[in-house]
Symmetry: C2
Subunit: 374 residues, 2 copies
């Protein structure tokens, strides 16, 4: 449904919907309006088990570990605000984590007297073991929680979440994996990761309507988890608590089984992931060469999914100290939508690769930035 007047290189922020998905949801929305009580109440009670079951299969988890929320921020808030923390407890997070998640950690720490400990992971990153070592070295006897992104937002690097979860949990540390970007981008087997909680968005790389995300919880810890919005189901178990969080448009959740089937039959999930990963890896190499910048992860794409973050050429960074004007210049003057990220005191550019993208899109970006850099 994207307009053809824009070169859209930011699938990663909010995703994009195939027309068939939008139209499926719109039909559901009209059905809701025909009889809102029936559709929002009785129908959802009847449909939720099969919605959760189809998503659980896709994610590689069990239905009774899975709950739905509206977005990854809501998932993170539900988990962090359910923790019982004490002064002195440490919440450990790499500096590659998403900005909003850092804010939620700070809020929870402020309320409880816990401390947020941010571990700096310098770039370039050479391999997974380096990431494991850096994060592991930051764990202490006071660490209560490790929060790691599966695919980081500012730097687009795949973290070795399975290895880190094993190390942390062996020390009694809870592990929250923020997989906001992972579903649909990586071949997920959530239960094999072994996290305490794994959360993800569906409206990014699974291409559902906006408003669909999930939490997978270790069965041993599921009784202590509550949604950010406490409602009728409180103390009736996590399924009742999460299934109803006030009057919402529940059609994004209802659309999940359709989207999973439709993409499988139209393109195939494996083929889509392979295509996107190859294109992102190719664009990564091509842009590093075009701009003569050092890559922040290996050029073989071994730490990439379907996004890549690039350093901007030095001369561009000299003209643009802030992200807003540079982003707006690319959008307004060159009709290129691409995110400029501020991280570790510098500006970066992140490209996404989705089926609607063509090599020409990235070549245009390469040329525009090269010319801007003089």
């Amino acid at each position: 449904m994207l307009g053809n007047d824009v070169t859209f290189l930011n699938h990663g922020s909010f995703g994009a919907r195939p027309t068939a998905v939008h139209e499926h949801q719109e039909a559901l929305r009209r059905q809701v309006e025909r009889q809102p009580i029936q559709a929002i109440d009785a129908d959802m009670v009847e449909l939720m088990p099969s919605i959760r079951s189809s998503l659980a299969t896709f994610l590689g988890t069990a239905t009774d570990r899975l709950d739905l929320v509206a977005n990854a921020s809501e998932a993170v808030n539900s988990i962090l605000r359910s923790l019982e923390l004490s002064p002195g407890d440490e919440l450990l997070v790499p500096d590659h984590a998403y900005g909003a998640v850092h804010q939620t950690l700070r809020y929870v720490a402020h309320r409880t007297g816990a401390t947020v400990k941010v571990v700096h992971v310098p770039v370039p990153v050479h391999d997974s073991q380096e990431l494991v070592n850096l994060v592991q070295d930051a764990m202490t006897d006071r660490t209560r929680l490790l929060l790691i992104d599966h695919v980081t937002s500012p730097t687009a690097i795949r973290f070795p979440v399975r290895e880190l979860a094993a190390v942390a949990r062996a020390r009694g540390i809870d592990v929250l994996v923020d997989g906001a970007h992972a579903p649909g981008m990586l071949d997920l087997k959530v239960d094999s990761i072994g996290a305490t909680w794994y959360i993800g968005n569906l409206h990014k790389w699974v291409c559902t309507p906006i408003g669909a995300a999930f939490i997978v919880t270790d069965p041993d810890r599921i009784d202590t988890l509550h949604p950010a919005i406490i409602s009728h189901g409180y103390q009736q178990g996590h399924v009742e608590e999460f299934n109803w969080q006030g009057t919402r448009d529940y059609t994004p959740w209802r659309s999940i089984p359709f989207v999973l089937d439709w993409i499988q039959s139209e393109w195939g999930w494996d083929e889509m992931r392979r295509h996107n990963h190859q294109m992102a890896s190719w664009a990564h190499v091509m842009l590093c060469e075009a701009w003569e910048v050092e890559p922040i992860s290996p050029l073989d794409g071994s730490l990439l999914g379907s996004m890549a973050t690039l350093a901007l050429p030095e001369s561009i960074r000299a003209s643009y100290q802030q992200l807003g004007p540079l982003h707006d210049h690319l959008r307004d003057e060159h009709a290129i939508e691409v995110p400029i990220m501020e991280w570790d005191g510098r500006l970066w550019l992140r490209v996404s690769a989705q089926l609607y993208n063509r090599p020409e899109d990235y070549r245009r970006l390469a040329d525009v930035v090269r010319i801007m850099a003089g």
Copy 2:
């Protein structure tokens, strides 16, 4: 957009949308899909001040006191979970409050050691002063919060919120008015009520798309309020904190100015409210007579908005001890959608009156229930 195969007497739960409103939102949703980054990010930053300003005028408050959320449950959770409570603090609430709100109070009390004190307000209620006296008598030196509904959900009674707010705040008690049903039903002048927080839904009686609600906060207390979903804006003031709560479908918020104008020009808010109040008051009297049941509020409608709750005839209550089967019988056998409420150990029926309802709708309900009662 309601199907004409159902007699829809439950506008109160989830509202219903005029076709023009649905189509306006659908056009916005398509616009979002054309360029999601522009629409969700830059456009919302630009539009939020005018959205909040037009709603503030409608509600009788100032723009800088007003924040948007998705529904009343999210509003209540934001407020209650922002409170700094200590063991021994009392949270006072009449037993007419909404079930989900009781649950949020219990959760917050459980986390902090505070106590929820439920004050029983017996029916029938004869006048406002009786309500003021009962609630006032339950206040103690330990009462930190009074939570009162403007129009109650199970009993559909208008509480004297201005008088109760004055009494409570004079004693240093914070007052949260749950106006879930009030906007569009009552002629609101929120600031004149004098509550610490006033919250309401827009997708009920204002007929916006599902996913629009608000919080109005006393300026002296606004710095201590945080959304249930902490995100990028944390510690940048309430406007930044509430304007972005993760990736959501923000088109319900964007539709607010259109709905406010459209209903004003199509029917007029005053005329709509007057029509609905008159019809609810008439149905109240007619149903009490038809079923020979005692009214729970005065028959002149002085404590009603555009809903009325009726006791069910004794013989019906003998056959149906639970609300589900009775609701489903009316829906499936008689194509009448009307909520059966459980409250104070008994079953009740609540009718709503909205422009699409006709006197015949209520007469059909009267006949069906009379025949069922034998």
